[in-house]
Symmetry: C2
Subunit: 307 residues, 2 copies
């Protein structure tokens, strides 16, 4: 049985899913730079509105991946996908022939550089549908949801993926293995592509305010994503836009992750969510003017932030 | 000879052109609410880098148009074109059968409500190509340019327009009468439609930074405007986009009027510059996705400002 995991990216998502694996009996190490001293001493504290609260004591707390002792069955990449993070360099010291590289990250087409760098390794791509935040040093608040969807690239489900799903489920969180994880990525992008940039560019509106004011614009961006996905070979369900709109009206007003990053002065996942989709459109010769517009405006907004 | 003018909107542009008319011998009254006391006592002071400096003492300083004594040959509408300003109500008390209503305002399709309200009056539409600011109470700084283009609706040049041009020119500023003022409005919109909203939505970038980063996006918005203008019957020159791009690269980095309004917490001319163009596109059945996108985003940005 595979039960050694290394979490890279000790943010809310990495710590939360790592703590579930540990709960289920896995040996879970964590790379943790900024909070190293605190976590080394106290571990992590997870406060979940659904599952109660618990302490997560990693098997190893590391400042760098190179310090890892042993051979990881799974490396879970849970960093944000932003250009300055060199994910290949980050994981190279700990990838062995038997390591499965697991992405729990946002965006589309984010796996290619890892696939190219580690062509012999199993690649498990994953998406987290969760609302959780790091509220202070080493402390994670899990507010709602939690479902994880995992699937191997280019399109199958391995034994390791099944085992990983089982571990997560044992801790009480839904985990689904799929042969179509890339399609799932595009489906998630249908929501992310409008609401993330619009929340930032509007100066901080909630999902509900955006929708009440500019539903047609939101739909046009969603439609661009659907057309790009189709051109890339991933046909999304016909009713996906209607369902996303309906569900978002039903959600409480919500601050997107990009808006939280923006407000906290952190880099945003503009390239992972928008730039990669725009590039797929260009390669496929598909016109995506609404997506192109929000991408261009996000690049301008970032340029001003960097100035 | 027609030489009685009433300026409505005592901002930099209204005062500057009003002062030129007064210099040329016209009787120029000004409606001036917020600075009434100061202007009543001291008049306006105009400091022009090209023409020197002078004091402009209006023939009447008024708190409301209804106080105007006499019959104006020209009413010059120089307010910003923003929805809360009811321009019809503003000028109704002073419009006589012989009054020519002159617009010196930004935007496209901004004249219709006045044309409908005063169907018997001569309508002169005008565009100012000028860089001037109000720097303190009653004091206008004229930095550069100044050309005024005037033309009658629906498409001719009247004697009054010719006389108005002559008065402006006597004061040393270029003034051109044209039979195609609506085409000129669309031509100006080609520049305004990208640079005004992009400067705001980017968080304050200059024209040059916008262009260096996102020239293709700027061109796509310009192309939308050209296509809308054509559909509305106003074919713009083929090279207008290239010329605008080239000229903007050659200009010093420039803060747009919309950005200045945004930074000062003033309402922006989103409807006059973008909304009206979007509505013309809809009526004509023309797709204008890049323009639609920046318009939608400006509406979201304004919604957040109003919140």
């Amino acid at each position: 049985m595979s039960n050694k995991a290394l979490i890279i990216g000790a943010g809310a998502i990495g710590v939360f899913y790592g703590s579930l694996l540990a709960k289920a009996g896995a040996e879970v190490a964590v790379v943790c730079r900024s909070e190293y001293e605190h976590v080394k001493q106290h571990g992590f504290f997870i406060d979940s509105r659904e599952l109660g609260s618990w302490t997560f004591t990693p098997s190893q707390v590391l400042k760098n991946t190179a310090e890892y002792v042993g051979a990881a069955d799974y490396i879970l990449l849970c960093t944000k996908v932003i250009p300055p993070v060199d994910r290949v360099a980050l994981i190279r010291p700990v990838v062995t022939a038997d390591t499965a590289i697991v992405f729990i990250q946002n965006g589309v087409e984010i796996e290619q550089e890892i696939v190219s760098a580690f062509p012999g390794n199993e690649i498990i791509s994953g998406l987290a549908y969760i609302c959780c935040n790091q509220i202070r040093n080493g402390e994670i608040l899990h507010l709602a949801y939690g479902r994880l969807t995992l699937g191997n690239l280019p399109g199958y489900v391995s034994n390791k993926t099944t085992e990983l799903c089982d571990l997560i489920r044992q801790s009480g969180i839904e985990c689904i293995a799929t042969r179509n994880i890339v399609t799932e990525r595009w489906k998630k992008c249908v929501w992310n592509a409008p609401f993330n940039p619009l929340s930032v560019l509007s100066g901080g509106l909630s999902t509900l305010d955006i929708l009440h004011s500019q539903e047609a614009f939101v739909r046009n961006i969603m439609l661009d994503i659907c057309r790009i996905a189709k051109a890339a070979g991933y046909q999304l369900p016909e009713d996906i836009i209607d369902i996303n709109i309906k569900n978002t009206y039903a959600m409480p007003p919500y601050k997107t992750s990009m808006l939280l990053d923006f407000e906290n002065g952190h880099p945003m996942e503009t390239e992972a969510i928008l730039g990669n989709a725009v590039r797929v459109a260009k390669q496929a010769g598909i016109s995506s003017p609404y997506l192109d517009s929000v991408y261009a405006l996000m690049k301008l907004r970032e340029l001003k932030l960097d100035a």
